[in-house]
Every structure is written in C-alpha cells, then in structure tokens.
C-alpha cells in the first residue's frame, strides 16, 4: 500500500474539492466559495497552461430576448434549440438542453460580475454577432478573470496536481488520490466536483477508440486532458453518455504543433480550393456548403485518406478570400513545382488540376454565398466556387485532422449530479466537457461547450455547497 506524505494542501478535507482548472471547474469553485464553503481546486496543468481547453475558446453561445451587452438582435430558446438539433441530429437530452439554453442568459451578467469582459464579434466572425458573446482576449482572458476572482474569494488552488483515483464505494466518493510535487496525497473532501475534460490528449485511448490512424491526428487543445478521472470513474461503473469511439475533429493546418495549436491552426481555404490526397487525387466536393457549415466534416474526410493527410490547392486569385493562415502557404509558379514542394506526385497532381479546370463552367463567382458555380461531368463534383486553377503563383496547404474534443462522458441529472450504477452518487457532481456528451451527443455548435461548462459549473458548485 502506498504511503501518503504530509500534504502541502491547506486542507486535506475541503468542503468542496474541484477536480480540473478550466471554465466549468472555476465556475463551480466560485459558486461554492460564494456559499461560504472551503474550496480546493486541483489543476493538473502547471500555472502557465492552466485552464484546460477553455484557454483556447473565444465565445459562449447565449440566448437573449433583445440586445444584451455585445450581442445584437434576438436569439430565442426555440431557435437556439433548433440549431442544436440540426448539429446533433437529435442526439441530445432535450430537458437538459433546454435548461442549459434558458439559463445561458443569466450567465452573461454573472460572468461580468466575476470580471469576465466581452468584446463585439471579431473581424471575420460577423455571422456570430447575434448568437455568441466573445470574451475580450479570448478564453485565457476569461480563465485569468476567474482565477483572480477565485483567489480573491479565498479558494485554494493547487497546480501540477494530477488526480489519479476517486474511491467510489457505490454510494459516495470516500477519498481522492492526487499526485502533486512528486508526492502522492490522499484527500477526504466532503463533496467533489469533477470538471476535468475529455480524453482527447490520450493518443493511446484515441487509437483504441478510432484505430491506429488516430496517432496521426493533431490535438488542437491542451495536452493535459487525458481522461484519467473519466476512465477511473467509468471503471467503477459510474454511468456514461456519448459515443465512446467518437471525437470532434476538423481539418487544420498540417504543420500545426501536435498539441495546443488552438485557433490559429484553422484553415478556411477549402471552399476555394481543390483538396487532394497524397496521391494527388480529389476525394470530396470542396464546395458543398459555406465553410462554417462544413469545416467539421473535413476532419473525418482527411482522417479517412491515406496517412491522414490532404492538400488544398489554390491559385493567385483565391489567396485573399479567407482568413490569413498562421504559417505561410507553400508557393510555386507551376503546378508541378507545387507538387514537388508539397511532396506530391507532380504528374498526377497536374492531371487532377487539368481535369478539374476542364470541368469548370462559366458563371459569376461570389465568395460569400453559394454561387452555384459547379463543375460538369466531374467525380466528385465541386458544386460551388469552382473556378479553374490557372493563375500563378499556386499555393498549397497541408491539412490534417485536428481533434477538438471527445464525446464520451459522465451521465448527470439536471442538478449536475453524477449517476452511479444504482442512482445518483451522493457527493459527486460533474460539469463541462466531462459531461457535455449528455447534451451534445454529436456534431458541434460554436460556443456551446462554454455555455454547458458555465451553466453546469455554476449548478455543480451550488449543489456541492448546499450538501456540504
């Protein structure tokens, strides 16, 4: 049996122990502390990387009956719920979803009171100005505000603190084991909130779920979301939700770092390009719909190609049509030259481009709407924005699947309490990505992860405080 060193932790038995250090965890900690409970946050990351995937976010989706802060117009419950149904294909718990949506409006002023500041929707994101409130400085700005607030309230925070085990006796969590500063500690909190994210940074687990191809995926967010707490609880027969084999993946810049590339690695060039695999062959309609509605399927499409890699090819007339990329594109004066620089078979790429060019039809090009500029007699067709790729210089971007989050999580009720094998666990609540699969069973809706995290973080904190 392991020996447990004296703890550097102010109290080994806080009223409320919060596992995780992102948005949901911080909301829970602040709410519980506001109720007068002693609260300890265990953040697995070092201080520089605190905040989980929240540090990469930029907005939260908020219902409102009229202009609210930086939000324009009206975004009502039914429209919001319809948007959710569209992306999830109905894979949601309607009761929890509607409650989340209704509560989202209360979150806005509450967040401001904690020190979170908003800004109008960013240049290039005008389509979200009605539905999504952007954090000034992005998610790390929000996370910093919550940490300041938590510190001011007297929440204890331990960084580099990795929870290894929550001991569940069938009705309640008896103790929590944590590795911190090279030593193991056993804590006996009254109540526990788990808000420690999904498992997308554990490549072995991803490979188990998805197949060996997953090892070639890039992870867009924190390397600290390894799903240790999730797995530990599921192993002890706590109830799960969400497809254990699925993750949300988008096509991102193939040169991005393995972890933590975040927002800047996105590439918006696909609709104006042809996308080929490593053999120089096209494999899908690049112009099927506007990019905000299609970027999410391209992660899977690229994942299905050999070596999980693809290349978007454009010419000089399209380079200014999309958000600038973080790395400059590969550039050449000829298609063959571009193929060589990208490591693609030049002859095959030439043939693909020639065939595509020959299939393009005359017509008016509009970059921002479905312009119907389609190819004729081409498989697969490109159904919008199909213009011949003829004007040098030619540009190429490597694409790889970038994983944003996983869907597998803990089942919770409307009070955020975790469901055990025989009913609710007495002293365990969950919030954020670790339970988001209850509501977001498939697909993704921009800013909705932060809404779920904020709504359920606040509920979990209040409830954990109430029973402490």
């Amino acid at each position: 049996m392991a020996t447990y060193a004296p703890t550097p932790i102010p109290s080994a038995s806080p009223d409320v122990l919060v596992v995780g250090g992102g948005n949901a965890a911080l909301c829970a900690a602040i709410r519980a502390r506001e109720e007068g409970r002693s609260v300890l946050i265990l953040e697995a990351a070092p201080i520089a990387y605190r905040g989980g995937n929240s540090r990469h976010t930029r907005n939260f989706r908020c219902r409102h009956e009229g202009p609210l802060g930086v939000l324009t117009g009206v975004y009502g419950d039914d429209e919001y719920f319809d948007d959710l149904i569209k992306v999830t294909g109905g894979k949601t718990d309607e009761h929890l979803a509607r409650m989340t949506i209704e509560t989202s409006q209360d979150c806005y002023p509450w967040m401001e009171r904690q020190g979170v500041r908003f800004q109008p929707s960013l240049s290039g994101t005008l389509s979200l100005s009605r539905t999504n409130a952007f954090f000034l400085g992005g998610g790390k700005g929000l996370v910093n505000a919550y940490y300041r607030r938590a510190q001011d309230l007297g929440v204890d925070i331990l960084y580099d603190a990795k929870v290894t085990h929550l001991d569940f006796d069938g009705t309640r969590i008896r103790h929590v084991d944590v590795d911190a500063a090279g030593e193991s500690h056993r804590l006996t909190p009254t109540n526990v909130v788990v808000a420690s994210g999904g498992f997308q940074a554990d490549l072995d687990w991803l490979a188990e779920a998805w197949g060996p191809a997953a090892r070639n995926f890039l992870i867009r967010g924190t390397p600290y979301n390894r799903g240790v707490v999730l797995k530990d609880l599921l192993d002890q027969r706590v109830q799960s939700v969400g497809d254990p084999t699925q993750c949300h993946a988008v096509a991102i810049d193939g040169r991005a770092p393995k972890f933590d590339g975040g927002i800047v690695t996105r590439l918006d060039c696909v609709p104006f390009s042809i996308v080929v695999n490593k053999h120089g062959q096209r494999f899908y309609d690049e112009g099927e719909d506007v990019w905000p509605k299609r970027y999410a399927i391209w992660g899977r499409l690229v994942a299905a190609q050999p070596d999980q890699v693809a290349y978007a090819i454009i010419d000089a007339k399209s380079i200014g049509l999309f958000m600038p990329s973080v790395f400059p594109p590969v550039e050449a004066e000829t298609i063959e030259g571009l193929g060589q620089r990208l490591g693609l078979p030049g002859a095959s790429l030439r043939e693909t481009v020639d065939t595509f060019n020959a299939a393009c039809q005359p017509g008016d090009f509009h970059s921002t709407t479905l312009d119907g500029l389609t190819t004729a007699h081409l498989q697969p067709a490109k159904t919008n924005w199909a213009r011949p790729i003829i004007e040098p210089p030619f540009y190429g971007y490597m694409l790889r699947p970038g994983v944003t989050f996983t869907y597998l999580g803990l089942r919770v009720d409307e009070t955020a309490r975790v469901e055990g094998p025989e009913g609710p666990v007495e002293n365990l609540w969950a919030a954020g990505e670790i339970m988001a699969g209850s509501i977001l069973g498939q697909g993704y809706l921009a800013g909705f992860g932060m809404t779920i995290g904020t709504v359920f973080g606040r509920i979990a904190g209040s409830e954990a405080a109430r029973y402490a």
Binding site: A48, R117, L136, G137, G138, G139, D260, M323
Partner: protein, 358 residues
C-alpha cells in the same frame, strides 16, 4: 538591429492575425487585422501604436513555454524603441541618450555648471525675484535656441516616421481623433475600461493610466504656465515675479504638483512591472528620464516655496539646468514617445478614414 526586431515582430503579428482574440484591447489589433501582409513600415506603425498595456500578453494562449513564444509587448517595444533612434536627427545623439542613463545625468550636471557659470559671469545689476540672479535677456538667449532647435529635430523625426509609414495623407480631423485618444489615454483603458496590466501581473488597474495623465497634463500645465509668463512679459510688460493669483502660478503650481506626483508614481509602478514585457535594454535611461521630469517639477515648486530666502539662487540654478536638459534632450529621450505615438495615432485615424471611404 532594427531589421531583426521587425522580423520578430512580423512573425508574431502574423500569428495574431490568424487568431484575433485581442481585437478589443487597443488600436494595434484592428490595424493588424486590416491587412494580410505587413511591410517594415506597417510593423513600425503597429509598434508606435502600442502603448505597452500588456493586456494581450496575459490573454495570449501562445506565450512561452508554448513553442510560438509570443510576447508582443516586448517585440513591438523593441521595434518602437529602435524606430525612435532610427527616425531621430542626428542619430548618434539618439543612440547615446536612449541607451545610456549616464549620458542624461552628465548633461544635467554640465547644465548645472553652465547655468551657474553664466549666472556668475553675467550677474545683473538689478532685477526682482529670480531676475536678480540671472537676467531675462540671458535666460532667453539660452533657452530660446535650446527649445527651438530640439523641436526642429523632433519635426524631422516625425516626418521620417510619417514617410516610413507610407505617407498617408493627413487631415485636421485625424489630428483631432488622435487628440481624443491621447487626452484620456484610451489605449491604456484595456478596451473594457478596467485599465491595463502592469504592476500586478494579469490584474487590471488604472494606476498607470492615471499616473501617466498626471504627468502629461502636469507637464502641459507647466508648459502653459511658462507660455503665459512669456505672453505677459512681452505682450503686457508684466514681469515676474507673479503673485499666486496670476496665470503663470495658477497653471504652474497645480501642474508642478501633478508632474511631481505623476513621475513619482510612474517610477514606483515601473519598479513593480515585469521588465521582460517591454523594450529591452532601456530601463535605466527610462528611469533617468522620469527623474529628470521629477527634478523639473520638484525644483520648480521648491523655487516658489523658497521665494525671498537664500535658497533661491541654488534652486534656480538646478531648476533651470533641469529644464535645459529636458529641452535639449527632447528628441533623444523617452520624451520622443509622445510625438511618435501621437503621429502613429494620427496616421491610424487617417487609414481608418480612408478605408471607411473605400
């Protein structure tokens, strides 16, 4: 050196342009986001727009240890500092005083000796107040060129900056727009009005904004006080010393107090700030400049307090020497930042006006 700094700032600005999370903080980000590719002149323009509020640094997901290693306040700070030296005329003086605190101190000491020597050599026969120690004629013959020549050098530097940024045609409305931003130091508001990040990590505070405006407005009041004295002297033959209820005193006393308090406060704030988040290698000269401003205001106030005592003569010597040093070094110290920032804000206002007009 400048080209290396510009290259690094360009690398970082390109990452910012793909992110855009910081758009609401200040004038820098809308300027970056308006373009896809950045010339050297663009980067220098961003650098002079940056007020070093540091909001973007603390909000950034890509700061070290992340491999992107972003530190935009430092990258732009280095370009900004080096651009002042490149724009200045003559450059050799700028390189000396921007980089070496001791040079400023030396000029101060030399000025004290010079003023003392002049006062001894040309001691007036009569005259009231401080004119009893140094005549009005001597003062004017020293200070008029010491003020006009540096101003001329500043004008050349500002013109060089404007040319470097692409010779954007400017209008009076652009000056007014820039004046509004400078008058309340909008770019230290953090965008949300909570202030900037400086003396206490990622906590927002108005301290630096207020301290800076005390310094700026205090300085302008002191300047107005001197101007009022000049007008009264030449226009109305009203010679110093002036009573308390006169324009020079009513402007100068509050101005002096504000300048004292502002420079003292800025000094304290600067000692608490993280040196790695600003321009590198100039902290010493920046402190020297703050103390010089403090010396100008403190000796000015002391001089007034000492009216009629034996302390007037030494205080007058030190005060005049500090003012002389401040004027002479106008184009070659941190004082240049005011002119270059204001120019950058004006150019930005013009660019926005032109882009809005299509």
């Amino acid at each position: 050196m400048l080209s290396t700094s510009i290259e690094e700032a360009r690398r970082q600005s390109e990452i910012c342009n793909a992110c855009r999370y910081c758009e609401g903080y200040c004038s820098v980000f809308p300027a970056i986001h308006a373009q896809r590719a950045f010339s050297d002149g663009d980067i220098t323009q961003f650098a002079n727009l940056c007020h070093n509020c540091r909001g973007c640094y603390y909000a950034c997901q890509y700061t070290a240890p992340h491999e992107f290693d972003l530190n935009l306040p430092q990258a732009l700070g280095n370009v900004r500092q080096q651009s002042w030296q490149a724009f200045a005329y003559p450059k050799v003086l700028a390189n000396l005083f921007h980089r070496h605190a001791a040079a400023t101190v030396l000029i101060f000491v030399v000025s004290i000796i010079a003023v003392f020597g002049l006062a001894q050599l040309l001691r007036p026969q009569g005259g009231a107040g401080f004119y009893a120690f140094i005549s009005h004629g001597v003062m004017v013959s020293v200070f008029a060129p010491a003020f006009v020549l540096p101003l001329f050098a500043v004008a050349l530097a500002v013109r060089a900056q404007w040319a470097d940024a692409g010779r954007t045609p400017l209008r009076l409305s652009d000056l007014i727009a820039a004046g509004r931003l400078a008058a309340n130091m909008k770019n230290l508001s953090g965008g949300h009005g909570d202030g900037c990040n400086y003396e206490d990590g990622d906590r927002f505070s108005q301290a630096r904004r207020i301290a800076h405006q005390l310094t700026l407005w205090g300085f302008l009041l002191c300047f107005a006080s001197t101007s009022a004295g000049t007008i009264m002297h030449y226009g109305f033959a009203l010679e110093a010393p002036y009573s308390f209820f006169s324009a020079p005193k009513l402007l100068g006393v509050p101005g002096g107090i504000m300048l004292c308090a502002g420079t003292l406060w800025l000094t304290i704030l600067k000692t608490k700030s993280d040196p790695s988040l600003g321009e590198q290698g100039v902290r010493g000269p920046q402190f020297a400049f703050l103390w010089l401003l403090f010396a100008v205001s403190a000796t000015g106030l002391a001089l007034y307090a000492a009216t009629g005592t034996a302390y007037v003569e030494p205080l007058l010597t030190v005060h005049l020497a500090s003012v002389l040093t401040l004027f002479l070094l106008l184009p070659y110290t941190k004082m240049a930042h005011g002119f270059h920032r204001f120019t950058a804000l004006t150019i930005e206002a013009a660019r926005q006006r032109l882009s809005a007009a299509g």
